[in-house]
């Protein structure tokens, strides 16, 4: 499989929630996206847009049952003979509020859950747990024998993420991992994710409702609304369309509005600013002339 093939491909995907019940509702109505190896891609959309539903197709929790195709690492996920266990090791999925999945008495045991389920031997498991815990900022020796539920909220979140990393996935999908986290914790988390990408070469799919997260982390963004892909492009391209973003229930960062309005007033600025620093440089160009 050449590296030119996308590792994940979603074509016109449809999905109905609670099919066959009085509560039936259309979830996805034609979602499209593509992730290539080594990329950091963002999926943004308001609550209920269908983001979680899309990413749960990536590791086979949900299968395409109606229309559309999902190809993960070359495998057609509609095919019932696909080795889902193998996919789940390669595509690690971190859920929203991941700390809610912790159940073992000791932190180390919980992080080891995944590797043990994979059938690895104790030594290999220990190595992976050590690597995963160190990389999320919970030093192995210090935290492995701590009581899981004595940890702070942020520490529990890290332990949960370590639990997924211990599988050594090639692709890491993070579903709203910054939800409910305060600004300081959020910065830390985003920095850790960037580290995972840069040092370990993981392909990252980052789902969020927060535009500032996208600016800080991803190269490319898909915006999802009403169960379909409504915008796609580089972060800068997406940022240059505040009205469109608002229409889809997404907040436009202030910088986006500032640059857009300056452009509308006739100033020759590049609207594709994603950070304040970039905006500063652009504005300075017109003040300094």
């Amino acid at each position: 499989m050449s590296d030119q093939q996308p590792v994940i491909q979603v074509n016109q995907l449809y999905h109905t929630y609670l099919r066959g019940t009085p509560f039936e509702v259309q979830g996805l109505s034609g979602a499209d996206l593509e992730i290539r190896r080594g990329e950091v891609v963002g999926i943004i959309g308001r609550t209920g847009a269908g983001k979680s539903t899309i990413v749960q197709h990536f590791n086979g929790l949900i299968r395409p049952r109606e229309r559309g195709k999902v190809i993960v690492l070359g495998q057609d996920m509609a095919d019932p003979t696909v080795n889902v266990r193998s996919i789940r090791q390669k595509v690690g999925l971190v859920f929203q509020y991941p700390e809610a999945q912790l159940f073992e008495r000791l932190v180390g045991d919980d992080v080891a859950f995944g590797p043990f389920k994979m059938g690895l031997k104790l030594d290999e498991v220990r190595d992976r747990v050590r690597w995963a815990m160190n990389i999320v900022g919970l030093p192995f020796e210090k935290f492995k024998d701590r009581f899981t539920f004595s940890l702070s909220g942020g520490e529990m979140r890290k332990a949960a993420i370590a639990g997924v990393l211990a599988l050594r996935p090639e692709i890491l999908v993070l579903d709203e991992s910054t939800s409910g986290v305060d600004p300081r914790g959020r910065k830390e988390l985003l920095a850790d994710i960037r580290k995972l990408h840069e040092e370990e070469g993981l392909t990252i799919v980052f789902v969020s409702t927060n535009m500032e997260d996208m600016a800080a982390l991803v190269d490319r963004v898909y915006a999802v609304d009403g169960g379909k892909t409504v915008m796609s492009g580089s972060t800068g391209e997406i940022f240059s369309q505040p009205e469109e973003l608002r229409r889809h229930g997404l907040g436009a960062p202030q910088i986006t509005d500032v640059m857009h309005q300056l452009k509308q007033r006739g100033f020759p600025v590049n609207e594709r600013c994603v950070t304040v620093a970039q905006a500063e440089d652009e504005v300075w160009k017109i003040l300094n002339s």
Partner: protein, 285 residues
């Protein structure tokens, strides 16, 4: 078990805002009807009686505009359990029950296994009873908002307060439990998905299945339990912040009125129940 959508199976406690005669009945009527039906069901072991009771229970469902398929889908998770129990009863309970007006006829015997007409009847009747109770219970909670239910229960328990029965507190506990059923069901779905994503196998492989299942249960029950406790803690604070101090001195926005339909419903079910109990041994089969 690839399909995780739990909400679809949680039919108890989910109020369905349709319009029907049953929806409009006073909750006290519905509670009374259910109690009367349960009494009638308890006293009747014959095939005929149970078919009648099933038809009557089903009639209530039709009258309430609740899709029977919806209620039946709520039975699905319990089906393996029902089948196991049914088999146990069928195979091993031959000596336990002799149908009225007949003798015990052995249909099959081998070692401990002893199938008689009695055990067959036991199994069939138990299954029918289960369905009747599912219809009645699901009916009660699907057509009555939990606040109406609790008001109804509270009202009916009020005369017993002098004997120390905490009617209001019990009703509130019931309300809150019912309110959080769908929330915890969703949470369970999330926890299951998270554990499966880490490689847990909920489909169950045959070898070592029991050991694995016990461990898997921990992986599901512990997080769910902790989640429920956290929500409880939060809820207590919220209730205190809204001046909840128990049942004393509380007023009620929801007011209950008994109408003609209520009296007719209670009256007819009362007559039916009396008949079923009095005639229990008079049915042919």
């Amino acid at each position: 078990m690839e399909d995780f959508e739990f909400l679809r199976n949680v039919t108890i406690g989910q109020y369905l805002p349709f319009h029907s005669i049953v929806h409009r009945l006073d909750p006290r009527t519905k509670i009374t009807v259910m109690l009367l039906m349960v009494i009638a069901i308890t006293f009747n072991m014959s095939y005929t009686a149970n078919v009648i009771l099933l038809i009557v229970s089903f009639a209530f469902v039709i009258l309430s505009n609740v899709p029977p398929g919806y209620i039946l889908s709520g039975v699905k998770p319990a089906v393996p359990l029902i089948i196991t129990l049914a088999l146990l009863q069928l195979l091993f309970y031959g000596d336990q029950y002799v149908p009225a007006k007949t003798v015990s006829v052995t249909l099959f015997k081998w070692g401990w296994i002893h199938v008689t007409n009695g055990s067959v009847q036991l199994v069939v009747v138990s299954t029918l009873r289960f369905l009747q109770l599912m219809f009645l219970a699901s009916l009660l909670t699907n057509t009555t908002t939990t606040t109406h239910l609790t008001h109804g229960m509270e009202d009916m328990l009020r005369p017993f307060a002098r004997f120390g029965v905490p009617g209001h507190e019990l009703s509130l506990v019931g309300t809150i439990a019912l309110r959080f059923v769908p929330i915890l069901a969703e949470q369970l779905e999330i926890v299951m998905k998270a554990q499966v994503s880490r490689g847990a196998d909920l489909g169950g492989q045959s070898k070592l299945a029991f050991v694995q299942t016990a461990r898997m249960m921990t992986a599901l029950v512990v997080p769910l339990f902790i989640d429920a406790l956290r929500r409880g803690e939060d809820l207590i604070l919220a209730m205190e912040a809204r001046c909840y101090v128990g049942g004393q001195g509380r007023s009620h926005m929801v007011q209950l009125h008994l109408s003609r339909a209520d009296y007719i419903a209670m009256g007819s079910v009362l007559i039916f129940a009396i008949f079923m109990v009095a005639f229990q041994n008079g049915f042919p089969v």
